[in-house]
Symmetry: C2
Amino acid sequence: MKVLDGKNISNIIKAEIKESVDVRLSSGLKQPHLAAILVGDDGASLTYVGSKVRSCKQVGFISTLIRLKDSITEEDLLIEIKKLNKNNKVDGYIVQLPLPKHINEERVLLAVEPNKDVDGFHPTNFGKMALELPSFIPATPFGIMEILKRYNIQTSKKSCLVIGRSNIVGRPISILMSQKGSYGNATVTVAHSKTKNIKDLTLQADIIISALGIPEFLKEDMVKQDVVVIDVGITRVEDITHPKGYVIKGDVDFKNVSKKASYITPVPGGVGPMTIAMLLKNTLLACQRND
Amino acid sequence: MKVLDGKNISNIIKAEIKESVDVRLSSGLKQPHLAAILVGDDGASLTYVGSKVRSCKQVGFISTLIRLKDSITEEDLLIEIKKLNKNNKVDGYIVQLPLPKHINEERVLLAVEPNKDVDGFHPTNFGKMALELPSFIPATPFGIMEILKRYNIQTSKKSCLVIGRSNIVGRPISILMSQKGSYGNATVTVAHSKTKNIKDLTLQADIIISALGIPEFLKEDMVKQDVVVIDVGITRVEDITHPKGYVIKGDVDFKNVSKKASYITPVPGGVGPMTIAMLLKNTLLACQRND
């Protein structure tokens, strides 16, 4: 059994991005610039955005954090987005979710210029990804593909079960795993809340990618020997013995499933750290496309 | 066993569209207008486009056929497309494929204004479909969903095997069948050229949608009792006993598989006739969105 160390890979990717930035700067090319819009002051969102801003610094990007009041109207938020769309100094930007309830999230995400949509949430980018055209792949599925590549885990001709059909993880990763290429070409099944007899499916899968959000859902008796397990679940579970009062649990009973797995991502330290690295990678791509 | 009569359903849909057009006209609303660009004079393409033009007449649409020489440059074709994008009289249009080899098909399809892309081939429409936003669904998968609905074939909680991962059939139908809703919610597996042991998969499936292009690939011993079979394959097979010198074969050995199937589409007369009906439906939708 080998633990897929997302933390380590994300650091390698960040170092590679830093190197690209250094080469760019010494060649007189533009420094990549990521902007983030944060509406309100939700604690978790502040933490995420803060972490993205720090990561920009690490890799030598310019970052701009645009903080807007919780009470901002949808129209005013759309005006800020139009400004970013027009601002040539910004290569890519994200709108930190969730947005306040009085704002239509869909309308906001559709207003983001696809060429700057480094989160890869705009339909145009989703469609380009599905049709195998250059696009921005959402960070989490992009990170999963990168883990598989870096560990040289061949997926061609393998059966892959994706648990979850969300727009930002399950659906895109199911498409990517099924596309042509040595880190694709898997026979992919998408399971979800209406799937019957899920254990029959998990027992058959060579690769399981779980993005369900049910702590320790996947048990040892549900997987076959030498399965590859990618755990995208991140759920806070109350734990009064822990200083924070909670622990983070994945979808997989790591302790026991890891006994049978050939490769497995831990939680935390697996897919999680990859998301910021791939957001930075998308921003670098956006900048390179502007050269 | 029940034969899913696509010919009959397509006629019902066309009658419904005709009725909507009549109501529109008597309400003083605009008559729907479909345009088609045909480059060159390939026989099959002429037949297809001719059939689309005739169907427009049947349902009361205006149709415009723009015929361009085989020798047209990509730039000149793109100028024609820009004209159609700007022409307010045209609700939707198609560019008949294939295009001559000197023209980059991808570049042309990307130039089509998504709001007029009634073929649903533009990435923005593909992405919107995948993200469950209003879009134009490509005619063949749209037609398959419509057959399932009209025959009230429940798909929720069923296992569905899609054979083929093309951008215009396999991939989109796999997404539609897996989405929420009573004619979705299936647990979908996508098989393709790199899939191992396909018989294991066909034998387990409650619903099989085959878009492979191998005549009579799916045999009786590969399916379970009461399977629902949707055959998207259309291959010309030489047959000197037939006046045309060929017959059209589907992916399914209809004669024998139909003995075990609960529902099955024939070829011809199954999915095929639905494609034009759904193209017309998309054009009506485009027109309605312009009201």
